[in-house]
Amino acid sequence: MKVYADNAATTPMSKTAINEMLYHVENTYGNPSSLHAAGQQAAMALLKARQTIAEYLGCEPKEIIFTSGGSEADNQAIISAAKLGERKKKKHIISTAFEHHAVLHTLKRLEKEGFEVTYLDVHENGLISAEQVEKAIRPDTCLVTIMYANNEIGTIQPIGEIGAICKEKKVLFHTDAVQAAGHLHINVREQNIDLMSISAHKFHGPKGVGALYARKGVILTNLIEGGAQERGKRAGTENIPAIMSMAAAFKEACDNIDENAEKVLKMRNRLIDGLSEIPHSILNGDREKRLAGNFSMCFEGIEGESMLLYLDMEGVCASSGSACTSGSLDPSHVLLAIGRPHEIAHGSLRLSLSEYNTDEEIDHILKAVPEVVNRLRNMSPVWRDLKEGRKEYVIQ
């Protein structure tokens, strides 16, 4: 049995999204900047996609800029807010220690350019509070950037509360909603969000396309200069088939948020309950305030990568917290941020479901994971030391 349980990394495209893409690949190949029929047809499609996305986010179409994905949107949002801040001599930014690297590495670059960044401590439950944000805001704060939902542990931050505080304090608020969009009800106006990043491949849309919402009046800095596409804020011939497909996938996802969440939640809860029976295991992050499909656990005495590879042999596609292939041997910065010690953080497993998963697949995972954990513990010198009392368990 093959089980894809790595939807937080990327999702397969929905039939709707594939058909929409294919339709436009074949029929709407014109360049929207061209005056002729083929171009104008593409321009109209683009307008429609922008309207759809805007409608589901609660903003104006012209507040949406299409990008090549979530990373680009994150980079552009943060750079733009920083440039705006710099002009007013405001060079302080507030973020958290468990953001995605697209945010963290952009902040690192700004730190080199003289910006100061406060990384809020994340509580052990994987949450930060609006009060933490409020306390950290200074007169020279130009931006608060806090992710909507964490990609590794799935916890959802109090975005509306943070937005309200930022609005009151007149500080720009960006949220990386890459994991949230299409999965949670978002309304940028009501939640007082100024800048927000989304990425299509996290909600059964195509890869290589995303969007940046920028509230009217928030002037964007170009990452990519050139033609006058996207109000002159993002050059490059528009990828109409992908943009249309993203809009279709987003509409489909948003129209079915509650229904999908209900289905996925049941499966996820069965998994958490079942896997929690493995001794010396622990759920990462709050049990309730989390995405329906996403959870991560740590298992004491074993290491994540080998767990994934053995699970893969059982047909289960999962992920660990650690960026094994990224050239770094450090454990997940997210798990460290919520206070897991290094040796525990190494033994993490993330399972992220979508509405395409089935109960049979959950049964399979519930069988495979304990077997794999056992197998690895049986060859682990750490586990032996724990079992034989030469070492204290960290996870009780």
């Binding site: 005495g301 074993i302 290491e303 994540g304 990568e305 080998s306 590879l309 042999m313 650690s322 094994c324 292939t325 050239g327 770094s328 041997l329 450090d330 454990p331 010690p341 290094h342 040796e343 190494h346 049986n378 060859m379 682990s380 010198p381 750490v382 586990w383 032996r384």
Partner: protein
Amino acid sequence: MLYSEKVMDHFRNPRNVGIIENADGVGEVGNAKCGDIMKIYLKIEEDVITDVKFETFGCGSAIASSSMATEMIMGKPVSEALTLSNKAVAEALDGLPPVKMHCSVLAEEAVKVAVRDYYDKNGIEYDASLFPNCESCDHCSL
């Protein structure tokens, strides 16, 4: 693929997993903070390794490297086991990804530390410079 077929084979079916009660030499290297610990148990008769087992906490290439190293020293004289290099382990596995080369280093070191333990236990003299010095370990960014 991240790993060669050889690595995957040793990972899927690791040879010589387990422990040896009252082993003649035991070596443990790495630490859990880094995400890799290897422990090698040796049974030695007349300076020949007659049995070897390993336990590993670590990634796929750590498990495969330990497995391969045990195969490579099984039945060999202790002096020959001491010449096992991490490169030889990696080559026997048809290569490791650059970021995973340290796993083969751990395997080499675990064997050496187990041999040193055997020397120590038996009062055999040796050149200390041939053995790894944990303080020089740079596997962690801690």
